[in-house]
């Protein structure tokens, strides 16, 4: 996945433009886990929407496997900050929603895969319930099942764990790593949690705000598989401190 010199501006209601991204360059290797950290409002979500093909950049080029992204693709799955579930469907149907929504047949294999994901996330007992009956953490786990059920090559995640408490967040992150270890995928994670970024990623990008641009890149040389215990290692602390310094440095430059 390659992003070269991408700029994007939103059109305001009075006709003026607001530059959200300027000259963003980013390369993500196949099956790499990359995080983008930055303050809220720095354009991280905009970048993710461009990667998903929901919007087109004003300048620059985004290519995935050599093809320019101009529209959404089916081998990319998107996860949002809000679980974004269907309140009228039960838990299992919510997981199967991508198949139905793409008018693909839902056979025994698909249902089996959905149930397997639900059981991995501890939700199998709730398969017949409605999302409204689940807690916030369970809803987000359910959303993750739905994101993974189509076995996408690329996972784009927009602060999917930010509404959760710290314990649940780490637990889900590690769960995600396990799944990626079994079925490798390319992941781009947007987050404002530095610890989360360091725990999960191969590389962390630091984004400055207004207009957003990627200004630093840190390679996280921590061994895999990573378990929550990694967070106690001195090397982990070193990386988080380093990334935190970079984030602060760029926000100071702003003010």
């Amino acid at each position: 996945m390659e992003v070269s010199d991408v700029s994007f501006a939103y059109r305001n209601q009075d006709g003026t433009h607001m530059l959200a991204l300027r000259d963003v360059n980013l390369t993500v290797q196949r099956n790499e886990f990359v995080s983008i950290v930055g303050q809220s409002g720095c354009g991280k979500s905009t970048l993710l929407r461009l990667l998903a093909g929901l919007m087109a950049p004003n300048r620059g080029r985004i290519t995935i496997d050599g093809d320019a992204t101009t529209h959404p693709r089916r081998n990319i799955s998107l996860a949002f900050q809000k679980p974004t579930l269907l309140p009228w469907s039960n838990v299992l149907d919510n997981v199967l929603f991508p198949f139905r929504h793409q008018s693909r047949p839902v056979g025994r294999d698909e249902i089996a895969r959905a149930r397997e994901l639900l059981s991995m996330m501890g939700l199998l007992d709730f398969a017949e319930r409605r999302p409204g009956e689940l807690s916030g953490g369970m809803q987000q786990r359910l959303a993750l099942c739905r994101t993974l059920v189509t076995e996408p090559d690329i996972l784009l995640m927009d602060e999917p764990f930010s509404a959760l408490d710290a314990l649940t967040r780490d637990e889900l992150g590690v769960e995600l790593l396990k799944i990626c270890a079994v079925k490798p995928k390319t992941v781009v994670l947007i987050t404002h949690s530095i610890a989360e970024a360091v725990l999960l990623s191969d590389r962390v990008y630091v984004m400055s705000s207004r207009p957003g641009t990627l200004c630093d890149e840190v390679e996280i040389k921590l061994p895999r598989p990573r378990l929550p215990e990694v967070m106690r290692a001195p090397l982990f602390q070193e990386f988080t401190t380093h990334v935190r310094d970079l984030v602060q440095q760029h926000s100071v430059r702003q003010s």
């Binding site: 929901l54 693709r73 799955s77 009228w88 929603f97 929504h101 939700l123 409605r130």
Partner: protein, 274 residues
């Protein structure tokens, strides 16, 4: 994590206490109703008000009962007009709402026409439509449908564009077709809005039917009121009015119960997602 805690919550609500609650809630309105009827009855009797001006409740019941089975015929005629017009309005309003919510051009084309139509009082429209369509049931159903149409279109169109932004983005990111997005995401999100429109339209369809029966009909509760008052049979007119009220209440409750029975998740959805 996987414990079924939600099954084990003690839920103390025996049926008997629920009925008691319902009875207690119904007590005050019933008492007020009975009191009003008593005042009405004694007032009319003490001051000797002639029944062609204000009939006593007892006279209304007696004279309406005297109409006999014909009353059911009238009620059935009105019911046919209301339900026919209502169903027509549903069939027409849905494609219009989809068109309005999916394209700015179509919205600009359709909305002004609807507003102009809604600004003309149905009472003024009824005689003209009767000339156009004749005095048969076609004219009456058209009038009922026309008056019921507006709230249905407006609320359905609003509902169709009310799906949360993330939900639409999710759907777009899945590269789903426009039709799938309409069926899977936008339509279910619109259900609470659709039902609020359906409820308003139900009462309007009844008004439309009665207006149509005032203008051109040989049967129906509206016709019954019109002719009874012309012949100073005010007790019968009152009786027809009461039956009309009952029909309206039953129809409204039917719509309301369909929503509760088949779309329980939709109740409170519109508020919780804004």
């Amino acid at each position: 994590m996987s414990a079924t805690w939600s099954n084990s919550i003690p839920f103390d609500s025996p049926k008997s206490s629920r009925w008691l609650l319902v009875a207690r809630r119904a007590l005050v309105p019933t008492l007020v109703f009975v009191a009003l009827l008593t005042i009405w009855e004694t007032g009319v009797r003490t001051f000797n008000v002639p029944s062609f001006i204000l009939p006593a409740p007892s006279v209304i019941v007696r004279d309406t009962y005297g109409v006999g089975w014909a009353l059911f015929g009238h009620a059935q005629a009105t019911l046919t007009t209301v339900v026919g017009g209502y169903l027509c309005a549903i069939l027409i309003s849905f494609p219009l709402a989809v068109a309005i919510s999916s394209s700015a051009v179509l919205s600009n084309a359709i909305y002004p026409l609807l507003v102009v139509k809604q600004s003309i009082p149905t009472v003024a429209l009824a005689p003209i439509l009767t000339v156009l369509l004749g005095t048969g049931s076609a004219a009456r159903i058209t009038i009922a449908a026309l008056i019921a149409l507006f709230p249905m279109v407006v609320s359905t169109a609003t509902g169709l564009s009310s799906a949360p932004r993330e939900m639409i983005e999710l759907s777009r990111s899945m590269d789903a077709s426009w039709v799938r997005r309409l069926i899977d995401v936008r339509l279910p999100s619109a259900v609470p809005y659709i039902f609020s429109g359906l409820k308003v339209s139900m009462t309007l369809a009844l008004i439309g039917a009665v207006v149509a029966e005032f203008v051109a009909a040989e049967r129906g509760l509206g016709f019954m009121i019109y002719t009874s008052t012309a012949f100073f049979q005010l007790p019968v007119a009152f009786g027809a009015m009461i039956v009309l009220g009952l029909v309206g209440t039953v129809l409204f409750q039917t719509v309301s119960q369909i929503e509760r029975r088949f779309f329980p998740w939709a109740i409170g959805l519109a508020e919780s997602e804004t």
